[in-house]
Symmetry: C2
Subunit: 359 residues, 2 copies
C-alpha cells in the first residue's frame, strides 16, 4: 500500500493557538475544518472543542450552551459519578450524563494567505456559535461549499431533543450566518454539497447512521431543488473490503469538478481489533459521474492519506486524518484535514497522482 | 385512567383472510393499515407479513424480495443456526442473519363500504409490492393522505443498503403507484403528511431514531415545498411522563383539520418492566396549531385507546393498538389500527369525547 506523495504539508492551526471562550473553559482541540477560497485567501471554519478549565474530584463535567440567540453562554453540568453511575434498572439505560461529552464545540474562522499554508488570522472568539436548542450540545465538523456566489456551510448540530443532526447555514462574508435549519435529521453526519446544480438539481452526500445496524455506515446521495429541502435518497457506497475502510466510510470534502468526473475525498475507518484502540481514519478518493453523481466511476483501492506524521498519530484521538476541505492550486489540490482531533493540517497533492491511483 | 367510549368497533381484516403470495409462503399478519376515503368507500392498504410456509430444523428462514421491477419474487435465505450463531469476534457484530426478520411485508388493498366497517373486497395478491433494492426486505406501515385530488402514501421501506427508511408514493386509483423515493433516510418511521399546505408549505411529522440514544424516540416536524423534498426539521414532542407513553411516541394517523386545530392520533409505548414483555402500544391525541403545526396546543394526558379486546391483547405481538388511519363520519371519527400485529380494527369514537379529554 503506497499513499500519495505529499508535495507540501504543514500544521496550520493548533489547539495552543486558540483563546478559550471564557475563563471557565480551556481549548482541548482545534480540528476538523471546513475550507474554501474566499477572495484571494483560503478561509477555514475550524471546530474548536472546549472543556471545563478545572476539575472536581468525583464529578464529571458536561458543558453545554444556553441563553438567547446571540447571547449564548457555556454552562457546565457537574455529575456526581459515585451517586449516578448505576444503570437505571427499569429502563436499562445508562444515566443521561454518561452519553454527554466532557467537551463542547463551536466554529472559529481562520484566514490563510493565497498559498493556502500561511495563517494570517485566527478569530479570538467563536465565529459560529451555538444559539438554539438543537445546537445546545455544540456545532461540529462543518463543510463549506461555494454555490452561486454564496457560501453554504453544512455542520453537525447536536441537541438534546434532535440528537446528532446536520444543519445548513449560508454566509457571504464569514461574519454573519443565516441559519437554514436541520436538513438531515438524526443521526446523520458527513454531509457535503456539490458546488453546482446537475441537470437542474442540487446534490448532497450524507451518511445516516442506522439505529440497529444490519448494514454498516454508508454514504448515501440525495437531491434538492433549493438546498433547504432534500429527498430521493439513494445508496452510493458502503464500506470497502480493504481493511482501511472496512468499518465505516463517510464523505469528506465537498466534491470538486474535473473533466473526468466529480472528485470526492472521503474518509474510511478500519475495523477495530478486538480489545484494541479505536479505528484509524484515513482518506480515499472517489470519482463520480459528472451527469449522474449517484454513479461511481471508480475509487482508490488504497488510501491516499494515512496517519503517518506525529501530529496525525498522537493527539486527543490518535491515528486520525479527517479530510473536510479541498482547494485547487493549478495541477494540485490542498486538502485540509483534522488530525488526531487536535490540529488542522494542509497537505498538497498532485491531481495527476490522484487520477493515477484512481485508474 | 379512563379511555374513550368506543361507539362501534369491529375487526375488519384478519390474517386468515389473506391468500399467500406463493405456495412457499404463509401469511402471519394482516395489520397496520393506511386508510382513506375514496369515492363512497373507505380504502385500506393493509400490511401483510408472510413467512416461509415450511420449517427446516436447525435453520432460520429470512425471506426477501428479488427480481425486476414488476416481476419481484420472494426468495428465502436459510441460515444454519448452529454454524453461524457466534458473534464475530473481530467486529463484535452478530452475524447478519440475526438482524433479519423471519417474515417480510407488502401492502394489500381492502375496500370497505361507506359505513367504514364492512369489508367488500380484499386483494388476493399484493397491491403494492417491493420492487427495488431499498424495498428488498419489505414495505410496511403505510399512511395515506389525500392531497389536492391525489393520494400520497408514506411507507417504511426496508433495504440492506438504505436500512429502515420512509419513502413516498402517489396514486390516483389504488391500482398503480408512482414511487417518489426515500423522503426520510434511515432510521425513520411513523411519517404522516398533513392534508393541505399551511402558509404555503407542506408539513410532515416524522420519528427519526437516534444511533446512540441520548434522547428517547420523539416526534419531529419538517416542511416541504413539493412533498418530495423535506427540510427545517424541528422537535415536536418527546415521550411523556405518564407511563403509557414514557418509552416511545410516534405519529399515528395523518392529522385532520378541525376548527380548534390539527387533530393528530399518535401512539405511545410504555416503559418495559425489567424482565417483562415488550411494551404496550396505546393511542393518544394531540392538537396542533392550525397556522403553526409545530406548536402543540394540548395533548391527552391519558390514552384514548388501550389494548383491551382479546384481538388487541393476543396475537403475533400482544398488547398493541397501533393507529394509522382516520376517517370522519359526521360528529365521529373511525380510527383504523393494527391490533397485536395480527389484524385490522375499526373503532368509532366521538370527536366531542376526544375534545373533552383534550381540554
Amino acid at each position: 500500500m503506497s499513499t500519495l506523495k505529499r508535495l507540501k504539508e504543514k500544521v496550520v492551526v493548533t489547539t495552543e493557538m486558540v483563546k478559550p471562550t471564557s475563563r471557565s473553559m480551556k481549548a482541548v482541540g482545534a480540528f476538523n475544518p471546513g475550507a474554501a477560497e474566499f477572495g484571494s485567501e483560503v478561509v477555514l471554519l475550524v471546530r474548536v472543542a472546549e472543556a471545563a478549565a478545572k476539575k472536581r474530584d468525583g464529578y464529571k463535567s458536561s458543558p453545554r450552551f444556553a441563553g438567547e440567540p446571540g447571547r449564548s453562554e457555556i454552562i457546565i453540568d457537574w455529575s456526581d459519578i459515585a451517586r449516578e453511575k448505576a444503570v437505571d434498572k427499569k429502563t436499562g439505560r445508562f444515566p443521561f450524563w454518561q452519553w454527554r461529552l466532557n467537551f463542547v464545540s463551536h466554529l472559529r474562522l481562520a484566514r490563510l494567505s493565497a498559498d493556502g499554508f500561511t495563517l494570517k488570522y485566527l478569530d479570538d472568539k467563536p465565529t459560529f456559535y451555538p444559539e438554539c436548542e438543537w445546537e445546545s450540545f455544540g456545532v461540529e465538523d462543518c463543510r463549506i461549499t461555494p454555490i452561486e456566489g454564496s457560501y453554504y456551510v453544512t455542520y453537525v448540530a447536536i441537541g438534546l431533543l434532535t440528537g446528532v443532526a446536520t444543519a445548513l447555514a449560508k454566509t457571504d462574508d464569514f461574519k454573519t450566518f443565516k441559519r437554514l435549519g436541520i436538513i438531515f435529521p438524526q443521526s446523520n453526519k458527513d454531509v457535503v454539497l456539490f458546488p453546482e446544480k446537475i441537470n437542474g438539481r442540487y446534490y448532497a452526500l450524507h451518511r445516516p447512521m442506522p439505529q440497529h445496524s444490519f448494514s454498516e455506515a454508508n454514504i448515501q446521495i440525495a437531491s434538492s431543488p433549493d438546498l433547504e429541502h432534500w429527498g430521493h435518497t439513494e445508496f452510493l457506497m458502503g464500506t470497502n473490503k480493504e481493511p482501511w475502510s472496512s468499518a465505516k466510510v463517510g464523505a469528506g470534502a465537498p466534491p470538486i469538478k474535473t473533466k473526468d468526473g466529480w472528485l470526492e475525498i472521503y474518509h474510511g475507518v478500519n475495523t477495530r481489533e478486538s480489545g484494541g484502540s479505536a479505528g484509524t481514519y484515513s482518506a480515499g478518493a472517489l470519482l463520480l459521474d459528472l451527469n449522474n453523481p449517484s454513479r461511481i466511476i471508480t475509487r482508490t483501492k488504497h488510501p491516499i492519506l494515512i496517519p503517518q506524521m506525529p501530529y496525525e498519530i498522537n493527539g486527543y484521538v490518535g491515528h486520525v486524518v479527517f479530510p473536510e476541505g479541498i482547494v485547487r492550486r493549478g495541477d494540485s489540490v490542498i486538502i485540509y484535514s483534522g488530525c488526531a482531533d487536535t490540529c488542522v493540517s494542509a497537505v498538497e497533492v498532485s491531481l495527476n497522482d490522484i487520477f493515477n491511483v484512481l485508474k
